[in-house]
Homo-oligomer: 206 residues x 2
Amino acid sequence: MSAPENSGTADLITLAAEAQDQLFREGRTANTFTDEPVSEAQFRAVYELIKFGPTSLNQQPLRVVLVRSQEARDRLVPLMTGRNQEKTSKAPLVAVLGADLDFHEELPRLVPFMDDPQALFADPAARAESAKFNTAIQIGYFILGVRAAGLAAGPMIGFDREGVTKEFFPDGRHAPLCVVNIGKPGPDAWMGRLPRLAYDEVVTSV
Amino acid sequence: MSAPENSGTADLITLAAEAQDQLFREGRTANTFTDEPVSEAQFRAVYELIKFGPTSLNQQPLRVVLVRSQEARDRLVPLMTGRNQEKTSKAPLVAVLGADLDFHEELPRLVPFMDDPQALFADPAARAESAKFNTAIQIGYFILGVRAAGLAAGPMIGFDREGVTKEFFPDGRHAPLCVVNIGKPGPDAWMGRLPRLAYDEVVTSV
């Protein structure tokens, strides 16, 4: 099950091999899905798991809009780019993942040991950068959380940012970063695994 | 083992409960570590697992500098902020995680089905934004990968960006985003779990 280059290293991971496979080695980005719906309870279970993933200063800026109604789907699909339109029109569940650019308003109760944590994020540009950084980390948790539920994720960044903001985050305090199709993988759900960078291309020691 | 608010949802996750605990519910950000070293083989095993996590257009912009020598540690510690100095001076292994701002140079072999993928990233500002976004997603995978190895991670963003860039990415084509202490958790490794946002604060349906 492991790729050849893993031989000799997988036993250094204490996480069960089946879990490694489900989350990383066999988990794949899906382009097609079956018709089986994703229940609210199942999606809630994903959140109740991934909410524990750490963010800097416990910021938790990720916000999710679940596109459940046909009316909302009809507003989203034309804003997707190229082939993402068809994928998004057919997926059982579509989630728009955005960053709360005013996440700092929640900090007094999220970091109760700090005096005035909001003051650290008074600058809107620095706050937006922090919101997007930590939301992206949470997107990593989210994709693995979807896989943990036995589902496949199809994350996409190809969409009209301004249009999705206007349609799905009209309050002007959120930035959409990713749209994710979610469901059980369908026929020909993915292409062959694309190459990964070798360890020595990514990691150096000093 | 689960927090009370998880009751009734954890069984909707097909990943083994022990794996859920190890990665999310019991995994914690560590502030102290034992003296037990983290071997090159063990760190390599983490990479060989998390490399499979998806990035947009298979960009894989994450680059890692492992601070192995005392000389390098002595250069890093003064660049950390406040209490991060002591934590970083004592951790068995310290990894500087950065974004390769010129990741697009690798794309012809990472997305071999595309004609001229580099052309999509000709603009340096847009390329840097994409590099940082995907690196942050990979930081999410990285933190969970460290936990998958039975280790604890202590990710920190409090450090002198310019100084760390100069000392650890002197080629000018990388941006450090996070420094992570890695090892077996030591005495009083963490404080009590901080609050998490409730599902209904994060997720809305339309």
